[in-house]
Amino acid sequence: MNTIINGLAKAISLILSFDRELYAIIFLSLKVSGLAVVIASLIGIPLGAVCALRRFFGRGVLVTLLNTFMGLPPVVAGLAVYLFLSRSGPLGFMGLLYSPSAMVIAQAVIAMPIVAALTWSAVASVDARVRETALTLGATPMMAEWRMLSEARLSVFSAVIAGFGRTMAEVGAVLMVGGNIAGYTRVMTTTIAMETGKGSFELAIALGVVLIFVAFVVNVLFRMAQGRGMTV
């Protein structure tokens, strides 16, 4: 019990004193997951929307695949990306392994199916008559599809949040492709794992507190967006 209390006390002092190492780790986590989710959304939102709005050969298979990969264990994604980016792998010439870029790639791979599958579900739930109504108001087919996506915008936003939440929480992929290098690829989750192994619980607990806080803030932001209604 002592360890926990001491840990919590030290954690709070680390947070409040703006400890440099701690905040560098926090910002790196936010940057890596943030950028990964942006990339995942740039691909995933259009992909999910197209699956919901248009018919094409193989659509059903694609949707099933997306839903399957939504549950992909991050460590498996990490392994795949590692094998690709390793010097002995096909993309080795890019020299990306053990860098923040590799972590962003791995996390984008993890988040993309989540964003795509949830976007698909959101757009598919929109009243189909919205598309026709848009056409009767003079929209082009493309504008009408965009309107369908807009109708689901809150759900799409929550899909992005879900992707962000998953990437902030994972440790397997970023550890494998990032290497947990001090000051370079060390993020909150890998630091917690490492520090716990070393027995220095203060830093680990501090980061745990911060992770929970970040999740809380993200949820608050989401509720605010919801509460504001849908006035664009």
């Binding site: 009243d127 026709e132 109504t133 056409l135 009767t136 108001l137 003079g138 915008r153």
Partner: protein, 242 residues
């Protein structure tokens, strides 16, 4: 602008059931045509096919402007509008809903604002303009859908039961709006209505559909004063259960 809509010999079936059987009529500009008939007579189907929202199994739909034919396509779609029986409003404010079609046509922000304000004022829905369109009652939504159509200044307007959810003052306001569409913009207005009294009040011409066929049509005064067909007489007298 004086655009007419001509439908000729329309046939349409749904799952083996005949909805329209050789329906022909003309909707002229500057005229309100009421399409009446019992439930299931094909009124909505006729409207939707004429508004180019559904395809027909046989027959034709032709739009002409004066003497020349108007080709189907986006530009024609933007001269026509359709309001469904249960209107679909977008997940945004009433104002944004009304602005949607105008923005789609590429009007400037200023022009859009002007037209939206004018439509809202004319339609008497100023108290609703900032509301969340999804939170409106059935009657309010219907009014907004109609104002939305009015704002587009269409040359052909197809309105399916436009006042079914409204109380008498709402009905009066919306009928006034519909007549403005005819008078200000010279539109060919086609309304499907259950309400014979409404047809008497505002229609210039009436088309009576029964089981997918045009039984009788003509100028409104004559139609109501001396219907030629036995079916028509039975319908007007209220004997047809619907």
């Amino acid at each position: 602008m004086s655009m007419s809509v001509m439908v000729g010999g329309l046939n349409k079936s749904y799952a083996g059931r005949r909805a329209l059987d050789g329906v022909s009529c003309v909707f002229e500009p500057g005229i309100i045509t009421a399409v009446v008939g019992p439930n299931g007579s094909g009124k909505t189907t006729l409207l939707r096919i004429a508004a180019m929202l559904e395809s027909m199994d046989g027959g034709s739909v032709a739009y002409t402007d004066g003497d020349s034919a108007v080709q189907p396509g986006l530009s024609l779609m933007r001269r026509v509008t359709y309001v469904s029986q249960a209107p679909v409003l977008f997940n945004t404010s009433v104002r944004e809903n009304i602005a949607y079609g105008l923005k789609a046509r590429g009007l400037t922000k200023h022009e859009v604002a002007l037209r939206v304000d004018e439509a809202i004022a004319t339609g008497g829905i100023g108290h609703l303009s900032e509301s969340d369109a999804r939170r409106l009652s059935g009657g309010e939504a219907q009014r907004v859908a109609l104002v939305r159509a009015y704002a587009l200044k269409p040359e052909a307007a197809f309105l399916d039961e436009p006042t079914s959810n409204l109380d008498p003052s709402g009905v009066a306001a919306m009928e006034a709006l519909i007549m403005r569409m005819r008078d200000e913009d010279g539109a060919a207005v086609v309304i499907v209505t259950h309400n014979i009294f409404q047809a008497r009040r505002i229609a210039d011409r009436v088309v009576f559909l029964h089981e997918g066929r045009v039984v009788e049509s003509g100028g409104a005064p004559e139609f109501f004063a001396s219907p030629q067909n036995g079916l028509t007489r039975r319908f007007l007298s209220g004997e047809m259960a619907y």
